[in-house]
């Protein structure tokens, strides 16, 4: 024991004498980034290691919110027809200097054009680099929305859209719209090293990429010339630690300052540890049970309301989410702007449910089917178990439920065809815009696309969300979305079940960290006390 201690203190002494000056912030992440270019990745792990630390976008989400604020664009105007967006770019923004590239000019319109054209234009020299699949760019329909991008002068860029669409600005804040350096791209092109652009990134962001040791760690340095002021930490390290239990142990020994996704079972003991703190926030997601309103008896409003009242959702939160979720009362999560906080949730009330069923003509209930989610998702960690609990709840009002499930692709394909009666599904938002939930999941256009599994095309609801999509005034949009949620609440095409919570555990020394409702980990304002 004494020998061991001696040896250990010796090691400590040696290690500390070899230490570099400055603060190093260690973030224990869960997986390896697949690339350092957010244009070609869709996973949060890669985004945390690229979009947030290395890059900026024309507009960004205000730290800790889904609100849009100017970033590389200082300001913008929208033409009256909503189809032309003109951005005034920020002067004096420098790209980071790395071991492999020293920029000679500041950020300008050429960089914006290059970043969009790489994704949009198949003839761009970089289009096919890294697989040429710009999934997010296509999935958010930015590719079909943008007609042209034009450089008016070095600091003015004009986007012409094919139709007015106000969520466009929120899409610009997403990581796949990050701005890459055209100068760097040209240099690599000349050296015939195009692939390097995605592996050795250069951006305008708060941190500069230093190195990536596969499956081990990603290293960043503070960008001393960052246009919003240099970060307060000198070095940022992502220590890749896939096991949640081990991340917790590393947090305890001080090998990590902040960990992603603590295991739900550990959260209570973390809260009791005076050296640690736990932060939580509702995630940008919703888990729900949708009725196929095209099928009988789910076309009957009273039946839908009866089922709503009969489901004891609070018990699911405890049993399935281990308490790490909140009951949903709207299709939107509360962290999104436009959330209808005034909605009064349907209470768990068997008597009301029975009365409504009797009124609908089913005093003895009926036979029903619920499809249970075959995969684990944050918004529903255990579809089968939730199905069994729903089955038991509905049995109490006489509805005899048969549980059905398929493998995931079949499940989605069959639900798109509307073959189900009631189905568990969920959604994780992309851009923090209410349209990304309400239109995708409940709009009439979502019916043809297949994402509206309730098959619910409600005229007044649809009018409001379609209108909200075409105007750019956020206050007016908020009003429309609240009205739309009121209609949803009244007509109940779904029973919203839960919003899974996001947790981050960190050392007490960590200051300035905010949970990003969009699920990222952002360190530009973080420091150690």
């Amino acid at each position: 024991m004494k020998l061991g201690q001696l040896l250990f203190s010796l090691i400590l002494l040696i290690v500390s004498s070899g230490a570099h000056a400055g603060t190093t912030f260690v973030y224990c992440s869960e997986g390896s980034p697949t690339s350092f270019n957010p244009q070609i990745t869709t996973d949060g792990t890669s985004n945390n290691a690229s979009g947030h630390p290395i890059y900026n976008r024309l507009v960004e989400f205000k730290y800790g919110t889904t609100e849009i604020v100017p970033a590389l664009a200082e300001s913008w105007t929208v033409s009256p027809d909503g189809k032309t967006y003109t951005f005034k770019l920020r002067h004096g923004v420098k790209f980071g200097t790395t071991k492999y590239f020293t920029p000679t000019r500041e950020f300008n319109a050429d960089d914006v054009l290059f970043s969009v054209e790489r994704q949009k234009d198949p003839s761009n020299a970089y289009h096919s680099v890294g697989g040429g699949n710009y999934e997010y760019f296509k999935a958010m329909e930015v590719d079909s929305l943008i007609n042209t991008v034009k450089k008016i002068d070095s600091y003015t860029v004009e986007f012409k859209l094919n139709k007015p669409e106000s969520p466009f600005i929120a899409n610009l804040a997403m990581s796949f719209m990050s701005i890459l350096s055209k100068e760097y791209a040209d240099k690599l092109l000349k050296e015939n090293k195009k692939e390097d652009i995605d592996n050795f990134p250069v951006g305008t962001g708060p941190f500069i990429f230093r190195s990536y040791e596969k499956d081990t760690m990603v290293r960043f340095e503070a960008n001393p010339t960052y246009w919003q002021g240099a970060p307060k930490i000198d070095k940022l390290v992502f220590a890749i630690t896939p096991d949640a239990n081990v991340r917790y142990q590393k947090l305890k020994t001080g090998e990590c300052h902040l960990i992603i996704e603590p295991a739900p079972a550990d959260i209570n003991s973390m809260r009791k540890d005076s050296n640690l703190k736990v932060m939580e926030s509702a995630g940008l997601n919703v888990g729900y049970l949708a009725f196929n309103v095209k099928k009988k008896p789910y076309d009957n409003l009273d039946v839908r309301r009866a089922i709503y009242h009969a489901l004891n959702r609070a018990s699911y939160i405890n049993a399935i989410y281990m308490g790490n979720a909140m009951i949903a009362k709207n299709p939107l999560p509360p962290t999104i702007w436009g959330y209808n906080d005034k909605a009064v949730d349907y209470d768990f009330n068997i008597e009301k449910a029975k009365a409504l069923l009797a009124k609908a003509g089913f005093p003895n209930g009926f036979d029903a089917e619920i499809w249970t989610l075959p995969v684990t998702r944050p918004y529903n960690p255990n579809g089968k178990k939730m199905g069994e609990m729903m089955q038991a709840d509905l049995a109490k009002v006489g509805i005899k439920v048969k549980l059905i499930t398929y493998d995931w692709p079949t499940y989605l394909a069959k639900s798109r065809n509307g073959e189900h009666q009631m189905i568990q599904l969920g959604w994780t938002g992309d851009n923090g815009d209410p349209d990304n939930f309400l239109n995708v999941l409940l709009g009439c256009s979502g019916m043809t696309a297949g994402s509206n599994v309730a098959q619910w095309c409600q005229k007044d609801f649809n009018q409001k969300i379609v209108k909200a999509k075409t105007i750019s005034d956020q206050a007016a949009r908020t009003k429309l979305y609240i009205q739309a949620q009121e209609i949803f609440h009244d007509r109940t095409p779904w029973v919203p079940v839960a919003h899974a919570m996001i947790y981050r555990a960190m050392s007490n020394k960590v200051q300035g960290y905010k949970i990003d409702p969009l699920g990222g980990d952002i360190f530009r304002e973080v420091y150690l006390q």
């Binding site: 390896s32 869709t42 493998d407 994780t428 994402s451």
Partner: protein, 336 residues
């Protein structure tokens, strides 16, 4: 001799073919679709789905896919990872040194402790030493690695603070890779030196302990039984009757003869080291092939899984063949 060796090598072909079929089929039997996993809920767009399926070659028949895979492997092309889009072979070679380093440490640990433990247990047969060593061995052999690794972390890293929890080296060091073996690279790096070496070594201790425990138990048991057999032989009695010191008899006369079966076991243990690597690397965030395979299975990264498994299996089979050949060389009676 040459004929026997050739026969061994020819035997490799059907074995490796069998492995390739298994590696190819097993992952496809697991539910889950790599494209859906890549696209998430956005797989809703059938056109995008079909396009990705086509580019990955997954729209062809299984037989067609298998033969494409096989013919590519024979040409040394293991395909490209779906996730990282890099060649599977490069990805494997990038990670293999980490597993090799850990494996060597674990085996060193197993051999340097296992053989003396086995000898002590054999010499002190049916005493408290024998019982406690063999009892501990049985416990070590039966312990789930995942649990054992976490216990080691909780005791040695969290409670005692002697070793780091996980990783390969302290985050302060940026070590340039030459060999991929950090114990060597840390010495060579201008940034490193002795302190970096110490850090790398201290990071190796717990994972090597966790990974080496089962081989340790096996080696100790094998040494014990092999020693007991030899110690009962006539020539040992003769040696003792000559008046040679007991220690000399045990180490020189007995152990040398007892080593043959132990060496065979060491060859076989190479396979269990790889299995152990999968669990150990997950717990200790060790960037080797075990962790790589687990990630790839979760992502249904077919090319990596089939290519990686074939490469790992080839290594294990090759090692065993080498041990077999050594055996032939060492033991003329087996050449028939």
């Amino acid at each position: 001799m040459l004929k026997a060796v050739l026969k061994k090598i020819l035997n490799l072909i059907p074995t490796l073919l069998g492995v390739s079929v298994l590696a190819f089929l097993l992952i496809r039997l697991v539910p889950g679709d790599p494209i859906m996993l890549l696209l998430g809920e956005r797989g809703a767009d059938p056109q995008m789905y079909a396009e990705m399926k086509r580019t990955m070659g997954l729209d062809r028949s299984l037989l067609h896919q298998y033969f494409t895979f096989l013919s590519n492997v024979l040409r040394g092309d293991f395909g490209y990872s779906i996730v990282s889009k890099r060649p599977v072979l490069t990805e494997f070679l990038d990670r293999f040194p980490a597993t090799l380093e850990l494996g060597i440490m674990a085996m060193t640990f197993a051999i340097t402790l296992g053989i003396p433990f086995g000898i002590i247990a054999a010499v002190k047969r049916n005493t408290i030493f024998d019982y406690s060593l063999m009892g501990a061995g049985l416990v070590g052999y039966s312990m789930p690695i995942f649990w054992w690794g976490l216990m080691l972390i909780i005791v040695f890293s969290v409670k005692l603070g002697w070793t780091p929890v996980s990783g390969r080296i302290d985050v302060l060091y940026e070590i340039e890779r030459h060999t991929g073996l950090l114990l060597i690279d840390s010495w060579m790096s201008p940034d490193g030196g002795f302190a970096a070496f110490k850090s790398a070594l201290s990071h190796l201790i717990l994972p090597a302990l966790a990974m080496g425990t089962i081989p340790l138990a096996v080696v100790a048991r094998m040494t014990r039984s092999s020693m007991l057999e030899v110690l009962g032989e006539d020539y040992i009695r003769t040696a003792r009757a000559k008046g040679l010191p007991y220690v000399r008899v045990v180490i020189v006369h007995a152990l040398r003869n007892a080593m043959v079966p132990i060496i065979t076991i060491l060859g076989l243990l190479f396979g269990s080291i790889i299995t152990g690597a999968i669990l150990t690397e997950m717990i200790f965030s060790w960037p080797g092939i075990g962790k790589w395979i687990v990630f790839s299975i979760n992502a249904r990264d077919y090319p990596v899984i089939q290519g990686g498994v074939v490469m790992i299996a080839s290594l294990v089979i090759l090692t065993n063949t080498i041990v077999d050949v050594l055996y032939l060389w060492a033991n003329p009676r087996m050449r028939q």
